[in-house]
Amino acid sequence: MVPDTALKPDEGGERARERADAGRLQRLNILIGALSVPLFVLLWELVARSGIVNIVLFPPPSVVAVAIFEWMRSGQFFLDLTASIYRVTTGFMIGAALGIFLGIMTGQFPIVSSLLSPLFHILRPIPPIAFVPIVILWFGLSETGKLFLVVWGVFFTVWLSTHIGVQKVDRGLIRAALMLGTPRRQMLQEIILLGALPYIVVGLRTAVSISFYTLVAAELAGTFAGIVYRIEIAQQNLQTGQVMGGLAALGLISFAADRMFAALAERTVWWR
């Protein structure tokens, strides 16, 4: 038992017992948490092999694992992965840069806002997927068309959050900065950008998942490599294992991207 001079012996005993109970409960929770995915996979395997469902349409995880292994061994996985990641990251960066730049402009200058905001508010609610047909007409099956869709999806989210962030910068901070002799032209980098940063970061994080949605639309529209493209091809060949493997890969990438971005965001807005 832990010696605890501030407490009477019996009270100390009770405390220690409570602490031990709390510790046991916590370990139990961690154990159950670790079992969550394996239990699901086991159940899936059993159901798929039980004969209740069609094994061709609903293959067990073991078949999916073999499909993924084959995909990787053929070297095609790496090509698909780089093609998809290239589209997402390039599209994200272009869309984010445009969104931040125009968000600052419309947030800072009422004239720019009057000019652009009505237009953006009309275009923003149109789901990017709806642009697939016209993108095919304009760009064919080229990479430009894919990038256009991702950029389009990312841009409006980042623009809106930057615009709101700039408008919501604490007026008190601006007044304080003015009183301290901050020149107007330095106000942007010293106060406005940093003041809007928490909003911008939230917008960018939302845009990460949006960029994956639009990637799906872009690759379904027709291409020659990519995770979603591979899923579509596998579906046409009734390779259900490969389809599910593709879904798992897509889930993992998008999960990893979100985690990485969350970690990055924490460092960017360090004062929160």
Partner: protein, 291 residues
């Protein structure tokens, strides 16, 4: 430190941080702040609202003036106008002989909220002003470190504002306002958001600080006790429209502290203030009853 010294003015060079030193004898004779016929009208949904009505007063160099009045009497508006943050207005405001139309680095301001830059450490918050005025990072940090010592926050120089208590944040805000060595320091209910005990400590701190910096101070508050403890002179304002009702000289000895709250002379002064405010309150009440 060396950069801050003004050699020859004072034996205690460390304390000469923000002493305004008028360049000529004529300049010394004119007041630090001259407000003449200041009127401010706001356009509201219900028409024009006269927030401040022909207010005039002077503040000589080095004086500590408190403006008291009920909330909404326009006292903060007057202060913001002297700061150059409130335009347009009618009338004329001269600070150090120059007409006010925009914020100036020789006029410092402490707001009711600290308004510290949350992404900057205490040191970099205080160094911000000198940096903006073109000082090197090294010089600015030296100024900041002196002020940090002055407000007793040495242990927190590298802390971020959100880790500090309200009182400490306001001390940083005061140090930040002093970093540009302002000739005039404007304070808009700076202790209004603090609890009573912290407020009393901050008042004593400010009185100590004031003896060192010797800047002209205009301090706005709705707390009569606070005004009398701090000020050389109290201006009492009325609401709707904001006017100056009366001026009271506070002839209590210095150095002062919160202990004077129990002195008979203090109580007599406070009674004067309360009488003026009560009479005004009654008048306003009757007036609103008639209309």
């Amino acid at each position: 430190m060396v950069a801050l010294m003004q050699p020859g003015h004072r034996s205690n060079a460390k304390l000469s941080l923000a002493i305004p030193q008028p360049a000529t004898a004529t300049e010394r004779r004119e007041p630090a702040i001259q407000v003449s016929n200041l009127s401010i009208v706001f356009d509201t949904e219900r028409g024009q609202l006269i927030a401040v009505d022909r207010v005039s007063f002077d503040v000589p160099h080095g004086e500590f003036v408190c403006i008291v009045g009920p909330s909404g009497c326009g006292k903060s508006t007057v202060l913001n106008t002297i700061a150059g943050l409130e335009v347009p207005f009618e009338g004329e405001i001269l600070v150090e002989g120059l007409r006010v139309h925009r914020p100036r680095p020789d006029v410092g301001m402490v707001f009711q909220q600290p308004h510290l830059f949350p992404w900057k450490s205490v040191r970099r918050n205080i160094a911000h002003g000198p940096r903006m005025l073109g000082k090197s990072a090294q010089q600015a940090n030296a100024i900041a470190d002196d002020l940090i010592a002055m407000v007793g926050l040495k242990r927190f120089a590298d802390a971020y504002p959100n880790t500090l208590s309200g009182g400490m944040q306001q001390r940083v805000a005061i140090a930040r306002a002093l970093a540009n060595q302002p000739r005039v320091l404007l304070m808009d209910e700076p202790f209004g958001a603090l609890d009573a005990q912290t407020r009393a400590v901050m008042q004593d701190n400010l009185l100590e600080l004031r003896d060192r910096i010797k800047a002209t101070i205009v301090f706005v508050t709705h707390d009569i006790d606070e005004a009398i403890v701090l000020a050389d002179r109290v201006l009492i304002m009325s609401a709707g429209p904001g006017r100056i009702l009366r001026q009271l000289n506070v002839d209590l000895p210095r150095p002062r502290s919160n202990a004077i709250l129990l002195e008979p002379t203090y109580l007599a002064l406070k009674k004067d203030c309360l009488d003026v405010i009560r009479a005004e309150g009654l008048r306003a009440f009757r007036q609103s009853d008639e209309t």
